[in-house]
């Protein structure tokens, strides 16, 4: 069964926020994980417009650490640049001992007058981090420190 880009919160770690993201491809599951991070940060996150675009190029030893780096890049850009972002177009390649992401994140500058801000995620953590094939699609398990 192929999963559409989606995420759901799970009631795991008591102090933090945990979710499962799903997608029909690795790119889609990364985008779904970014959607979850954005939803933790911003209520009504679906209304976020694509006013800024930021190029991304990341490389890590495996897909799980690549997802961690990707989410933490979005957390960094929120604090350092004041941007709320979701995944733009992503291309992900894997090879033995390496996983690479190229693409972009898109979104808007934080505007407290327009945005209903929610939690300030400190980091995506490596706790229970998994990116796995699930039927025809992919699933990622992530815990956010808030």
């Amino acid at each position: 069964m192929s999963a559409a880009r989606s995420f759901e919160w799970t009631e795991a770690v008591t102090s933090d926020l945990a979710f499962v993201a799903r997608g029909s491809s690795v790119e889609e599951v990364f985008a779904a994980a970014a959607d979850a991070l954005l939803a933790a940060t911003l209520d009504e996150s679906a209304a976020l417009e694509a006013r800024v675009e930021h190029a991304l190029r990341l490389e890590e030893p495996d897909l799980e650490l690549l997802l961690l780096a990707f989410l933490n890049e979005l957390v960094f850009l929120r604090d350092a640049r004041g941007w709320l972002l979701r995944a733009g177009e992503l291309r992900i390649e894997t090879a033995p001992g390496a996983a690479r992401l190229e693409g972009s994140a898109v979104g808007e500058a934080i505007d407290p007058a327009r945005h209903r801000l929610a939690a300030e995620v400190k980091a995506a953590t490596a706790h229970g981090l998994r990116v796995v094939r699930c039927g025809d699609g992919w699933e990622a398990h992530v815990t956010l420190d808030v």
Binding site: E11, A12, S15, R78, A80, L129
Partner: protein, 457 residues
């Protein structure tokens, strides 16, 4: 496991802990160099890597340092500020007070502080910690004396900090953050003095006396330091150090390695950012009260961290050793007579600030000699009992705000959903936790404080 797990708490608290607390504490017990036991405080709950409320003392010569034993919010901690004011004097102005506090101390996503620091000023701040803030006019030498480590961890090195951490944290000094961070005006509970002599020594003298307690940390700077080094350690563990990865959030490196020393120096810098942040916030609080600190008897009772690793001397097996004590959601609690305590607290033992939920109140505890069994560590709060999502399902933020207002507790929250996550039912019974620390011999109760105004991040 290299050492056993030791859990402090009442039977009820231990029975109600998540099973994962014990799994995680057992994982911690496998860390190279761990000494005596992997410890859990009475408020322990399921975290990432270490349990929250976890303590591990590690031999720095042969053992490791683990960012997961400190947390992403390095030197997240508590400060308690006392005043001479009585609630009867303040109550008529309470709406104005809570609104002005919320305006002066920004909270929530994207909040920025009032300071505009150059790169070189920020580099100085992360070397000097709260001493930088006092030098810039945001407080007094007396505040520093009543801050853990004098408000400055001496091992900070800006060369060990990434550009990203500097960029992320530079504009956030003077901000609270989000999640469980808060600033609370509290009053001394009329029946809440457990030890009048100790309370007096801590500046807590009268029932209905007004104090201000706040909880925050090193903001994006510390979060980025932890993020950066988690990545460094995970890459180096299997190949360079041939260390088994038990749980990726227990990533570690030998303390006596380039990576370990470098993280320690960056962690000290983050601890200093946090001390400076809390010192600047105290200054902003003083401004809200509108008179000089001396006129209102405003004074820092104590500022103490609950997310650090520190080199300390402890007696183990009859001899004194230098140990790297990781405390994640656990508070250092030095006993009477400890040489690192300021003169004011040398005879009383260290004040410990136990932050409870915004519905139930908080405690001031004191360090005791019998806490040698916990490497002089005690609880840091009441400890969560349920996930944030579950709390959101069970509690409506607006209703909680109204209910608290009806009880005389005014809340200004950056988000109402975030407020719901912090409802009292999401936490253990703080009275039980405070009592358990006393019965377990790791601290003693001094005073119970109840909230009247809360600014929630």
């Amino acid at each position: 496991m290299r050492v056993p797990v030791r859990v402090f708490g009442s039977e009820k608290l231990v029975r109600e802990m998540d099973d994962q607390v014990f799994v995680q504490a057992a994982n911690v017990a496998r860390l190279p160099g761990i000494v005596d036991a992997s410890l859990c405080m009475p408020d322990a709950h399921w975290g990432y890597g270490f349990p929250i409320g976890g303590v591990a003392a590690i031999d720095p010569r042969h053992g490791v340092i683990s960012p997961g034993g400190i947390g992403f919010d390095i030197n997240c901690g508590m400060r308690l500020v006392r005043t001479d004011l009585l609630w009867s004097e303040v109550e008529p102005h309470r709406r104005e007070l809570v609104d002005r506090l919320a305006a002066r101390v920004p909270a929530g996503v994207g909040s920025r502080g009032f300071l505009r620091l150059s790169e070189s000023e920020f580099a100085e701040l992360l070397t000097l910690g709260a001493r930088w803030a006092v030098r810039e006019g945001f407080g007094s030498a007396e505040d520093l004396a009543c801050t853990e480590a004098g408000g400055c961890f001496p091992g900070a090195d800006v060369a060990c900090v990434s550009e990203r951490a500097l960029e992320r944290g530079r504009a956030q000094i003077g901000t609270l953050g989000s999640g469980n961070h808060y600033l609370e005006v509290q009053v001394l509970h009329p029946d809440g003095i457990f030890d009048a002599e100790l309370a007096r020594a801590f500046g807590l003298e009268h029932p209905e006396q007004v104090v201000v307690m706040f909880h925050c940390g090193s903001r994006g700077f510390g979060h980025q330091v932890a993020t950066d080094y988690l990545q460094v350690f995970l890459r180096a563990m299997p190949k360079k150090f041939r260390l088994e990865i038990i749980d990726r959030e227990l990533a570690c490196a030998p303390f006596d390695s380039e990576e370990g020393r470098s993280y320690y120096a960056a962690m000290c810098a983050a601890a200093n950012v946090s001390f400076a942040n809390r010192q600047v916030i105290q200054h902003r609080i003083c401004e809200v009260f509108g008179k000089s600190p001396a006129e209102l008897g405003i004074r820092n009772v104590y500022d103490v961290s609950h997310n650090t690793a520190k080199l300390e001397r402890h007696r183990v097996g009859g001899r004194e050793r230098e140990l790297l004590v990781h405390r994640k959601g656990a508070t250092r609690a030095f006993p009477p007579g400890h040489p690192e305590l300021p003169a004011a607290y040398r005879e009383t033992g260290q004040p410990v600030i136990l932050g409870g939920s915004l519905e139930t109140g908080s405690y001031v505890l004191a360090g005791v000699a019998s806490a040698a069994a916990s490497f002089f560590s005690t609880a840091h709060g009441s400890g969560r009992t349920m996930s944030r999502r579950r709390a959101r399902r069970l509690v409506h933020g607006r209703e909680l705000q109204d209910r608290l207002a009806a009880r005389g507790i005014l809340v200004r929250a950056a988000t109402l959903a975030g407020l719901a996550e912090e409802a009292g039912l999401a936490y253990k019974d703080v009275d039980e936790v405070a009592q358990a620390t006393e019965e377990a011999g790791i601290s003693r109760r001094v005073a119970h404080l109840v909230p009247v105004c809360n600014v929630k991040g």
